[in-house]
């Protein structure tokens, strides 16, 4: 049985971070009811021309397994139905700007009134409190606010904008926090309101640098460099735009590495023999290593280095990942069948449970409002005429 089987989520989330949270929960068996409306469709169901493409973004991945229903939350009967749904759920998740749920009549207090032990999870850019809590934001802004963007990039270049990994990291943190809240509820009988601030997730990911800065250090952008280790970088290989990451972690590894690249003389070269001097002279190492790496096929070189005990991996594209036997064996990459029969690669669970070998994704992208008979009929007990009347009134819309 899946670990979270029996848990039900009323999912009000939109965009990327919030839906990723409920996606992580649904991959472990939680029943996730996605609440949508034609009034303002989740923009991740739509195309994003600003990204330079015609199709939707991550919607297929994060909406898999989910059950879609329509609810117009600007209609009182829509709100009433939402509350009935919350009343039979363990978790209510949302990712609007702070204050929106309250304006809709769906604040934590409102939801507690219909289910006292509800766990409400709010995912927002800056949290539910604080002077910036009303700020709008997306992943690149989270990274900017949190310092992750400022600290990423070349030493002589500008900051780097974080993309969907930032959103999804927020969602992953939110799923983890939700699981913790479930444990708390089991112990105390009480629900709670979990407030996940995306900018705080970003800053937590450079928390060590912030701690160092609090003691007077001045962390800076440093490209692919490491504060201690060298060589530590990306090196060109025989094939165009195929880069090999190499990280030598100590002097013993350095000696092995020098021999492996046919430069045993470097092992005793005073510039490179010790970690400290090697790090100081790391720029001089790069052309030497590139002379070796650019004669090599990347995957073979990575395997050769790993065989010698040196951390190395090719900089992988999506094509590499999707076809990798290791990822496939772990079910970290799986094939998903869409309702139209199309098979596409998707990302499965990034962990394996000895008690549950099942796949994380068992259903493809839900049709808009496709689960209303089950949710409104079977779960909430509405009759067909009642459902039709709510549709006519555009409460279900």
């Amino acid at each position: 049985m899946k670990p979270l089987a029996g848990i039900r989520i009323a999912d009000f989330t939109v965009h990327a971070a919030g839906p990723f949270c409920t996606h992580m929960l649904s991959q472990l068996g939680a029943e996730c009811i996605k609440i949508e409306t034609a009034l303002r469709p989740d923009i991740f169901r739509k195309s994003h021309a600003i990204y330079g493409r015609a199709g939707p973004a991550t919607f297929d991945q994060v909406s898999s397994n989910k059950l879609s229903v329509r609810l117009n939350l600007k209609h009182p009967d829509g709100v009433a139905l939402a509350k009935r749904l919350v009343a039979i759920s363990d978790i209510a998740a949302e990712s609007f700007r702070a204050g929106v749920m309250a304006r809709l009549g769906l604040s934590y207090k409102d939801l507690r009134a219909v289910r006292d032990d509800i766990i409400m999870v709010s995912v927002s850019s800056s949290g539910q409190t604080g002077p910036d809590s009303h700020f709008a934001g997306y992943a690149p802004l989270f990274g900017a606010w949190g310092g992750l963007g400022h600290l990423s990039g070349h030493a002589d270049g500008p900051p780097v904008e974080m993309r969907h990994v930032m959103d999804h990291s927020v969602g992953l943190h939110a799923a983890m926090a939700t699981a913790a809240a479930l444990h708390q509820r089991r112990r105390t009988g009480k629900g709670c309101h979990v407030d996940v601030a995306a900018r705080e997730v970003a800053s937590s990911l450079v928390g060590d640098a912030l701690t160092a800065a609090s003691a007077g250090a001045q962390p800076e952008r440093m490209g692919n460099d490491d504060l201690r280790h060298a060589p530590h970088g990306l090196y060109a290989t025989k094939d165009d735009d195929r880069w090999l990451s190499i990280a030598v972690e100590n002097d013993a590894e350095w000696r092995v590495f020098a021999e492996l690249i046919g430069r045993a003389d470097l092992a005793t070269d005073a510039r490179f023999a010790l970690e400290t001097t090697r790090h100081s002279n790391r720029k001089a190492l790069d052309p030497i290593i590139t002379n070796w790496s650019r004669t090599k096929v990347g995957e073979q070189a990575a395997a050769q280095l790993q065989q010698a005990g040196i951390a190395a991996h090719l900089s992988w594209t999506a094509a590499d990942i999707v076809s990798d036997p290791h990822m496939r064996l772990r079910d970290a990459i799986i094939d998903v069948a869409e309702t139209n029969g199309t098979i596409r690669a998707a990302v499965g669970r990034p962990y394996r449970f000895s008690s549950d070998p099942s796949l994380g994704i068992t259903g493809g992208t839900p049709e808009f409002g496709g689960a209303e008979d089950y949710v409104f009929g079977d779960l909430l007990g509405l009759t067909r005429p009642e459902i039709d009347a709510l549709i006519d009134a555009k409460a279900i819309y």
Partner: protein, 388 residues
Amino acid sequence: MNSDKPLTGIRVIEHASGVAAAHAGRLFCLLGAETIMVEATGHSPLRQEPPFIDQEGSSSALFAYLAAGKRSTICDLTATAGKLAFDHLLATADILIDDTPVADRAALGLSPAQIAKNHPHLVHLSVLPFGAIGPKAGWKGTELNLIHAGGEGYLLPNGLSADLFPDRPPLKIAGHFAQMQGGVAAAYAGLAALWTDQGQFVDASVQDANVMVGAFGIQRFGDGSVEHRQTRSFRYGGVIECRDGFVELLMLEERQWQGLITLMGSPDWAHDPEFESVLGRSARGDEINRHIRAWARGWAVENLVARAQEQGVPMARYNEPAHILTGAHETERGIFLDVETENGTMVKVQSLPCRFCAQSLPIDGAVPRPGADQHLLEFGASDKRIGG
């Protein structure tokens, strides 16, 4: 000691030498689990990792961040007495986190079979760069390797940095992003396993966690397109330089674009009919960005961001560490806490990036000295839990 945290009453044993496993332990600890590090006789290697708090390099900020609030014991798992003490400790625990390489586990009594036999109640949470099974289970992986094994590294940098340095190799994200994804994924999996009330082995992989958060690229591939760092930039907006720093600007909705036009004083160029649609704007994104960049250079970051947010235009300052440590928003939310390091220095450590019912969870305790809680390895002493 706060006795009412989400994981109060849960005991976690952390046998970790890498960031990912230690980060999972940090999350458990801050959530209220009593988290006991079991360090080897040479102590956790993370104690020696930069960045450092002091110029002498005797106190690691990374370790302080990862270990604040945890307890520390030293135990030699190669010796019989150490194994016995460790076993006794495990008998009192709910979760064991371990990142020992697969090939070394059996000798230390840490194979899944050994743990399952002796401690069937336990959630045995393995956290490894490439997981515990599969052809690459034995591979080494540092932060640099893992951000690239997960796919995101190949796609960085994007935006302005990619424009400026098109011939440079791909770039990692700052710090330990990849390993921390591994840590949070592992912590989530550990909690889910614990939820089942069934002792079991959980095999978490840092690479898999990074592929998970990079799922966008996989979906795009399935849709028939491959992303590349030099083509996935936003067509307009992105990293914008101002008079005294950088801001990020991203507009996904029409009203946000209209807000920007208003903010810019409704310039003539913005009323080009082709700019009325997102497609039209995207096709001439470079031209739009030239206008935005020329305009933004005259602004101070703080003023511009405040005005932009008033207009509903998503914009943020690229905050430097000092901005975050002293920011009004961060200060009001109380996300940084004073923590004493193992050598007595006071530093700021961020709490969890989430709150439970308006509470910013405190960090209970200091950065532990090696073996500060050695008594927990004495028979009988470990039976009593904090907050249990």
